[in-house]
């Protein structure tokens, strides 16, 4: 074990040795070192947000044909630090009539609900928080805490807009949790485990190959779970001011954004671990640092896709968001999961390559059927719209003729 191939384990072992030399049994020392490391990880994740904010602003800026932050420090790198210092020194305005405890708890839950997911993420072959056997469900469970934060913020603010926004967002979040949980079920099925590390180890062939539909649904649902464009109904400023955080100020307001930026990245981490093989790659077992790099690069690609979508899509309406979920995503997720289960059982005796081929084929068939039905529905709707437009044109023409006559 040397420093270059696996730095985190190396430092961990070194620290354990150091603590043990103070006269502590080796196991106890290891437990203490792990405990402290576990305590430090959220801090690192929080600081990572500074980089995420800079990166995202830069990418969105480029997408919109402007340079993004470029004044403070080289390439504007110091900009988020300056912003953070500024927001730290902003007054916390306590609006009249708020329900104090939930009001103050909401931003904490919004961040804590995202940070809590990091403990089960396997960063490399040797470095993973904890490998509990319910890891995948744990992520969903912790995500529910963030939902609570939004409800708290909305109802405790004593503001109609905030309350309305919170209800909308929560309706959206819980709705998109269904296809997300169903899509998550497919990698669990393929790996026969809910442990995140086991799921990654089961992917010499990435699960996105065997379950492209589930991967797509998971990706879109996770964007909806973060509440970003095109699902950013919570920020429909023309309808509901700033959304559920209208009455927040200073760092309490900032925390909701810390939560959002971190959530987008965390979801990319989880997507990579579930569908893109996590840290898997050539040489990742021998040199865990390579696995870490692979994991990071894949995550950055997924994260970039999310930002690109955010920068280029217009916002849905609430009814569209709901119908998209319940009439399209949920049925597809149910079909994709049922098909995956059937294929896994019926083709259990075939080789890996053949089974994955059948998985792809079945996914393609489901997608084809959905597209076929979808195009029919839209065609029927299009014809109706055409008829309506025709009638409108006729009416306008008639009224014009009338006015011409008089």
């Amino acid at each position: 074990m040397n420093f270059l191939s696996d730095p985190v384990t190396f430092i961990g072992n070194w620290l354990t040795g150091l603590v043990a030399s103070l006269g502590m049994p080796k196991e106890t020392a290891a437990a203490w070192v792990t405990g402290v490391a576990v305590g430090i990880l959220p801090l690192l994740a929080m600081l990572w947000v500074l980089v995420l904010i800079w990166y995202e602003r830069k990418v969105i800026g480029r997408l919109q044909d402007r340079p993004g932050p470029n004044r403070v420090g080289p390439f504007g790198l110091i900009q988020p630090v300056a912003d953070m210092l500024k927001i730290f020194l902003k007054e916390h305005i306590l609006p009249a009539g708020v329900d104090r405890i939930p009001y103050n708890l909401a931003p904490i839950l919004a961040v804590g609900g995202v940070l809590g997911m990091w403990i089960v993420v396997p960063f490399s072959a040797t470095v993973h928080g904890v490998d509990i056997n319910v890891g995948a469900l744990y992520i969903i469970a912790v995500g529910a805490i963030g939902t609570l934060g939004i409800i708290f913020a909305g109802y405790s603010s004593n503001n109609k807009y905030a309350l309305l926004a919170a209800f909308r967002v929560v309706a959206q979040l819980i709705s998109y949790e269904i296809p997300m949980v169903l899509a998550l079920l497919v990698p669990v099925l393929l790996a026969r485990s809910m442990g995140m590390n086991t799921i990654v180890q089961a992917q010499p062939v990435w699960f996105i190959l065997a379950a492209p539909l589930a991967a797509l649904l998971f990706f879109i649902s996770s964007i909806a779970e973060v509440g970003r464009s095109p699902f950013d109904l919570a920020e429909a400023e023309s309808e509901i001011v700033a959304g559920f955080n209208t009455e927040y100020s200073g760092l309490k307001f900032g925390m909701f954004y810390v939560g959002e930026f971190l959530h987008a990245f965390t979801n990319s981490l989880i997507f990579t671990a579930l569908f893109l093989g996590g840290w898997q790659g050539p040489g990742a077992e021998q040199f865990p640092i390579l696995g870490f790099i692979y994991f990071f690069l894949k995550t950055v690609v997924v994260h970039f896709l999310g930002i690109a979508i955010r920068g280029s899509m217009p916002r849905f309406r609430i009814d569209q968001v709901m119908q998209l979920n319940w009439k399209l995503f949920t049925p597809i997720a149910l079909a994709a999961f049922s098909a995956a289960a059937l294929v896994e059982k019926l083709a259990a005796n075939l080789g890996d390559a053949a089974r994955i081929g059948i998985h792809i084929l079945v996914n393609a068939v489901i997608l084809g059927v959905v597209l076929l039905i979808g195009s029919r529905v839209f065609k029927a709707r299009g014809i109706r719209l055409d008829a309506l437009a025709e009638r409108n044109r006729a009416a306008v023409k008639l009224s014009m003729e009338k006015s011409h006559d008089s």
Binding site: D99, I101, P102, I132, N133, V134, L137, Y138, I140, A141, V142, G143, A144, I145, T147, L148, I151, F152, Y155, L164, F167, V170, I174, E177, M194
Partner: protein, 175 residues
């Protein structure tokens, strides 16, 4: 392990306090909030019982879904933030007496039960309890019937909810 017991005692106090507050705070929405704390405490108890799957399900289903539903339901009423007046009616003493009696009976039963004092030290089952659970859910000798009946029950709940919800919608629409 001492730490287990300390965590258990703290959690138990939190759960009981939260549960008492659920039924005693005057505002309905606050009752919903205390309920969330009580449910979270139950999840910790599941972890202490070495049932992590149920702990996670407790959080997903009870906090993530039922608590949200309760808050939605409270918001459907007009009195979400108003005091509902005194929490006790004239039968409170009688109800307390009945509750105490029930508690005494349950405690007595538990104390006279063998299992309360002789816990199985190391149950000889597959350590991966989730696999066991999954297997028994679809095993005809296991819980197949309850499993399928549960889906019918869920379906019935769905149909009933939509029926009632639709009727309500026809009456009054407001956002």
């Amino acid at each position: 392990m001492i730490l287990d017991q300390v965590i258990f005692l703290i959690t138990a106090v939190v759960v009981l306090t939260a549960a008492i507050l659920v039924v005693s705070v005057p505002k309905m929405i606050h009752a919903a909030l205390w309920l969330i704390l009580a449910l979270a405490g139950i999840a910790v108890l599941f972890v202490l019982l070495q049932a992590p799957f149920f702990a996670v399900v407790q959080v997903i289903v009870y906090i993530g879904a039922i608590a949200v539903l309760v808050i939605f339901a409270v918001m459907l009423t007009r009195k979400a933030m108003q005091d509902d007046g005194p929490q006790l009616n004239r039968y409170s003493v009688l109800a307390a007496a009945v509750s105490l009696m029930l508690f005494a009976v349950l405690t007595g039963m538990l104390l006279s039960w063998d299992g309360a004092n002789n816990l199985p030290v190391n149950p000889a089952v597959n350590p991966d309890t989730i696999v066991n659970l999954g297997e028994s859910l679809t095993n005809p000798q296991g819980f197949l019937l309850p499993f399928e009946v549960a889906s019918i029950l869920l379906l019935a709940a769905l149909v009933g909810a939509i029926y009632i919800g639709r009727e309500h919608r026809a009456g009054k629409e407001e956002e």
